[in-house]
Symmetry: none
Subunit: 88 residues, 4 copies
DNA sequence: GTGGTCTAGACCACA
DNA sequence: GTGGTCTAGACCACC
């Protein structure tokens, strides 16, 4: 289950991207593996976000070079995130 | 045994085509010889792919001019692959 | 139903070829149409002939240029027979 | 409406490819335009062929370099066919 | 909505 | 047995 806060300052798609990025960082979805499908993510969030929002979140991760979509197969992890923007 | 990864980014039929192309390249199946039959390939993959998908893989190799199907006989190697996509 | 006479002088495959040639001549199977499949012919003859014999009959018609097999589709009429060797 | 003959010698997917190639040749679908979608083609043929078979027909045209599929958009004409198999 | 991937069967001629 | 044809579905990302 993915918990998102509709009333938070952070946009839903950023929240979702953050959740997925963390999963990737912590190896819950290793490089080369598929992310949950858009439908699965929609279900995992309890329908809190639309498919359009999910797509936006995935675009964020794609822009970061972390994931890549493949027609008919799914969205795949292709790299680990850089160090978390932690205590710099 | 042929190991395919259903959850990989690469479509199953491309994975299978890659495996067979390598076998041809390395002379494990010389020019003029028959490939394993579609049923045998289905078994070799542990039933990971259907015959239709196997056919798609063979179509890839046929499009590359490497193999050719003969009615009631099998699929035969008719040429060696061009140089592997070099690691230059 | 196709009636063949096992005890006739004429070989079974010739008898069968004759039956089929007549059907073609009389337009029961027009040019461009498919003949009954080998299995269907086997059934039509009540199992009186083996598939090998059926194939031989079809080869006769193919040699006469009347029919042509197509992989995965069937055997097709491609021409009408010449005048029957009647009262020459 | 697209008329296909299930019982013809020519495979259904070849018949369909021929129809579409003619449409392209005669400018009914100009270069750069989209072909009817796979679902539309399924309907145009009166459901005579499955989507998989339609795809096979489109693969034929793609192999000839006439069309190209675009994800989520459709299949587009990218070139005119070479001279028709002349009646010389 | 679109095309791309994949399944699990069927029937066919041919060897 | 073999490969070639075809079906009637499914799920996926993408638009």
């Amino acid at each position: 289950m993915i918990e998102l806060d509709r009333d938070a300052m952070t946009p839903m798609y950023v929240q979702l991207a953050n959740v997925l990025r963390d999963r990737i960082r912590h190896g819950q979805i290793p490089v080369g593996r598929r992310l949950p499908s858009q439908s699965e993510l929609e279900a995992e969030t309890g329908g809190a976000v639309s498919r359009r929002t999910i797509k936006t979140a995935l675009e964020v991760l794609a822009d970061e070079g972390l994931v890549q979509g493949v027609q008919g197969k799914g969205v795949f992890v292709i790299a680990l995130p850089a160090n978390p923007p932690a205590s710099e």
